[in-house]
Amino acid sequence: MGFVTAGCLVMMIKISTSGGFGGLSMAGVSRVAMVEDLPAAQLDVYCKAFAPDALQAMAQTSPPAGRADTVTYQITVTDADGAHQFELDETQLPPDLLDLIDALPQD
């Protein structure tokens, strides 16, 4: 496994969730994706969407006041610099990114 795949520095994306209407951990999502295993056509999309800088910018925003029952995402992105961990409410994630998460196979 190389550190750089088609110009992408991200190697691995790990996603888990907590919270939600039921507060049930088993109802949540658990996804692990090796970027080099993703379809070539999607590679650049995932790389940009899960770039640590992009996730950091999302983490700087505040979830909407008054929200309830939303899911919290724990996202770990590993690149050549190591593991970058983020905890984000689903309302902090753009819809396109959520759709990409939904498209990843369940761990």
Partner: protein, 362 residues
């Protein structure tokens, strides 16, 4: 010594900034958000310089009055529903498929969301004189088929969204108590708010469950003795060993399943769960105030939306403390019972007993 450079941040305590974040308009929220960020880093610096490693937590009551309560509801209430199809995508609200007065679509999820929101609107309007979520006729926007295999329903501050479930753990979220639960989170937000963390978050959850169950009972014409007191009946997958997601009558018994484990809700403060997950166990410890409401209904008899519901609703409108603890909330309900039914009334005495039975002294 104040280490910050912004004088406002030195004066305004964090709990007030939380309130501004919750209740302010866009510019106020932005200001509060930036001050909180400065405040967090300042407190971390301060704690580090003191060698404690602990960031001090502040608590206190808010200073705002519920907008809807203060202004009063207009005479003519207007129900306005919009149901959108999310088409299994995350973008909200999606494609409008049924507006107010439109005929059924044939899509079960769409039509249940539409009818359910109508039942919630009627409860608040006819029993509590509240005109929709905000008290001013706010359009109830709902999105069904939200995302793919999505095991959740939520209120995002502006609208409700319901997944279809993965078919294994959850099979639907457009059950009436769930719809009423989510809409009631909106009512909490527009009644001053309860911070979604720890005990205040569990109270936010409990209020939503109470009004979820109440909507269901009213729709079915059930007295408190006839009701099943379940939240989310029938939403669990067919293979899950459970009847619902939560039980107000017997917290901790809604499900017991190899995959999900045991329903973790406590019914008494002795079993309060201290946890950092789920925003401090908001969906777990809500079992305690849920059970207090159930016990009180058993004392009162009749319909839940009558005396018990009136007390709970009034307490929400008047609590004026987004950081309220269970004790604060219990005291507020007692105040509400006194103002509605008198000091020393049967209604007040039984309410105190209900709270005592779940381990909360008032």
């Amino acid at each position: 010594m104040c280490l910050c450079h912004n004088p406002i941040n030195c004066i305004v305590p964090p709990h007030m900034l939380d309130v501004m974040l919750l209740r302010g308009d866009k510019s106020v929220r932005k200001m509060a958000e930036s001050l909180l960020k400065i405040g967090e880093s300042t407190r971390e610096d301060r704690a580090a310089s003191m060698g404690s490693g602990v960031v001090p937590a502040n608590d206190g009551s808010g200073t705002f009055v519920s907008h809807a309560m203060a202004m009063g509801a207009p005479g003519a209430h207007t129900c306005n529903r919009e149901v959108y199809d999310g088409e299994e995508k995350a973008a909200l609200p999606g494609v409008l498929v049924r507006g107010e007065g439109d005929p059924p679509t044939g899509d079960v999820e769409v039509d249940r969301a539409y009818e359910g929101a109508g039942a919630v609107f009627d409860l608040y309007s006819e029993e509590f004189n509240r005109n929709s979520i905000d008290g001013f006729g706010m359009t109830m926007i709902q999105t069904v088929h939200h995302r793919r295999n999505y095991n959740n329903a939520f209120w995002n501050g502006l609208q409700m969204a319901y997944g279809d479930g993965d078919g294994r753990i959850f099979q639907t979220f457009t059950e009436l108590s769930v719809i009423a639960h989510e809409i009631s989170h909106g009512v909490v937000q527009h009644s001053g708010g309860l911070i979604y963390q720890g005990q205040s978050g569990a109270l936010n959850e409990s209020y939503a469950d109470v009004f979820g169950a109440m909507t269901q009972q009213r729709r079915l014409g059930q007295t408190v003795y006839e009701a099943d007191w379940l939240v989310g009946r029938g939403i669990l997958g067919p293979e899950i060993n459970g009847v619902a997601l939560r039980s107000m009558k017997a917290p901790g018994t809604a499900y017991s399943d190899a995959l999900l484990g045991q329903d973790p809700q406590p019914y008494h403060m002795d079993f309060y769960v201290n946890t950092t997950s789920d925003n401090g166990g908001v969906h777990i410890n809500s079992g305690i105030p849920n059970h207090a409401f159930y016990l009180y209904c058993m004392y009162m008899g009749g319909n839940a939306w009558e005396k018990p519901g009136q007390i709970w609703y009034r307490a929400l409108q008047q609590i004026n403390n987004p950081h309220a603890t269970f004790g604060d909330w219990a005291a507020q309900t007692l105040d509400a019972s006194i103002s509605l039914y008198g000091a020393g009334s049967y209604e007040m005495l039984m309410l105190r007993r209900a709270w005592n039975l779940v381990g909360i002294d008032v």
